[in-house]
């Protein structure tokens, strides 16, 4: 049976009520795109998408998507149901939010529409509040986010967390692990671009490696419920038994999803949105086959065969592939280079391999 599927990350708005110190959506980048992807344009795009793809995973992203009125999302979900009736297209939805917006109505809607939520939460109050203040007041956001996270959980939703590996976060693996364990939140760690001018935000590769190692051990030797799902550790471990696993920054190409910008532009990742060279096309005016035949895709795919010799000789090539292509371009100015985090990744893969050797021998 031949099926085809797409993950579409929809930048539904560039408005945001937080001003995270590491956000790559600078004012000039935000000004480059319309503030909001209109409901009408998104409907047009979804219709076009449903005529080409059998399964669509739609991620509402921003900015802060929940700054849009609830009616926006209700209208889109209703339209998806209509498209399912017309074309049989299956939709799955999720939303990436900063967790500052909550109403009972919203919660009921998310639950009824089976929309998964990911909440951006950088660990404890101390680590989170260092970098994620409110835009207008400069006030801390942690307390409100954790309160809303509990409300989502109490209503039966099961949010997960995204954690950015800032210098503050990587300082104390024990606090971070205990925090998420206490709050029963699965989480994923994201590596930063390294082109930050603020030296107090970006960890060194050694600091990140040490954090990875300590956090991994806390998790790997924990036998008490709940066992958290921590990415990328689950997929790093799984990669010892399968080549099918791996988060996008551990894959040999950038074909895991497509990003829809507010003007209809399609990129292979929002991390390329600042550079029109990497625009695949505009889905409002072009077809999916045209967009998918963009030379940008070939350019990105050539990276796997053009990584530096140090990558090609590396034991972990097939589990790392030089890291995120967009990071390499920003960090090193060269798409075909490896990222700033090479040493951190080598260290954690070595560490996991050693832990597995001991575990498989029956030793603790």
């Amino acid at each position: 049976m031949t099926m085809n599927s797409i993950i579409l990350i929809a930048k539904v708005t560039h408005s945001c009520n937080l001003r995270c110190r590491y956000c790559f959506y600078t004012k000039s980048l935000n000004d480059h795109f319309p503030t909001t992807l209109s409901k009408e344009d998104l409907r047009t795009i979804l219709r076009k998408t449903s005529e080409y793809w059998d399964k669509v995973s739609l991620v509402f992203h921003g900015g802060e998507p929940l700054l849009l009125p609830l009616e926006y999302f209700q209208a889109i979900i209703d339209f998806q149901r209509q498209l399912y009736e017309e074309h049989g297209t299956e939709f799955r939805n999720s939303i990436q939010t900063n967790g500052t917006v909550y109403t009972n109505e919203l919660c009921t809607f998310l639950k009824n529409a089976d929309i998964h939520i990911g909440i951006s939460l950088d660990g404890t109050r101390e680590t989170h509040d260092k970098n994620r203040p409110f835009k207008d007041s400069d006030k801390h956001s942690f307390d409100l986010i954790i309160e809303n996270t509990y409300k989502f959980k109490q209503s039966g939703l099961n949010p997960s967390a995204l954690v950015v590996a800032t210098k503050q976060v990587v300082k104390d693996a024990r606090s971070i692990y205990d925090f998420y364990k206490t709050h029963k939140l699965d989480f994923k760690i994201n590596e930063l671009f390294s082109d930050r001018t603020e030296p107090d935000i970006i960890p060194t590769p050694t600091e990140l490696a040490s954090f990875y190692e300590k956090l991994f051990d806390l998790w790997f030797y924990d036998t008490t419920e709940p066992i958290l799902r921590i990415r990328p550790f689950t997929s790093m471990l799984a990669s010892f038994w399968s080549t099918k696993v791996g988060d996008c920054t551990y894959r040999s190409n950038c074909s895991k999803f497509m990003v829809l910008e507010t003007d209809g532009s399609i990129f292979s990742c929002a991390r390329f949105s600042y550079n029109t060279e990497f625009r695949l096309g505009n889905i409002l005016y072009e077809s999916w086959p045209k967009i998918l035949s963009s030379p940008v895709i070939d350019r990105l795919e050539r990276r796997r065969d053009n990584l530096p010799v140090s990558c090609r000789k590396c034991e972990w090539l097939e589990q790392c592939w030089g890291g995120c292509a967009a990071c390499a371009l920003k960090d090193k100015g060269n798409l075909f280079d490896k990222t700033h985090w090479c040493a951190s990744r080598k260290h954690i893969f070595d560490h996991i391999k050693n832990r597995l050797i001991y575990a498989m021998k029956g030793a603790v």
Partner: protein, 69 residues
């Protein structure tokens, strides 16, 4: 798109370092391994389900998409 598919399929390489699937005794000592093995199973199932010519992707997990960092 066939090039994209070919490239995706060319990921089917053999890792130099592989372990046997851990047994229940090992998993009991390291329950995190169960999550990793579940992830492996799910990823392989999805890869088989979505083997069409036009696949851009084969799976979506929470948090797949990076924060704006």
């Amino acid at each position: 798109m066939s090039q994209l598919k070919n490239n995706l399929n060319s990921n089917e390489t053999t890792l130099e370092f592989k372990f046997d699937i851990p047994n229940q005794e090992v998993i009991k000592k390291h329950p995190a391994l169960k999550l990793a093995l579940d992830e492996k199973e799910e990823a392989e199932k999805r890869a088989n389900d979505f083997s069409g010519e036009r696949d851009v992707c084969s799976d979506l997990e929470w948090g797949d998409y990076s924060a704006k960092s």
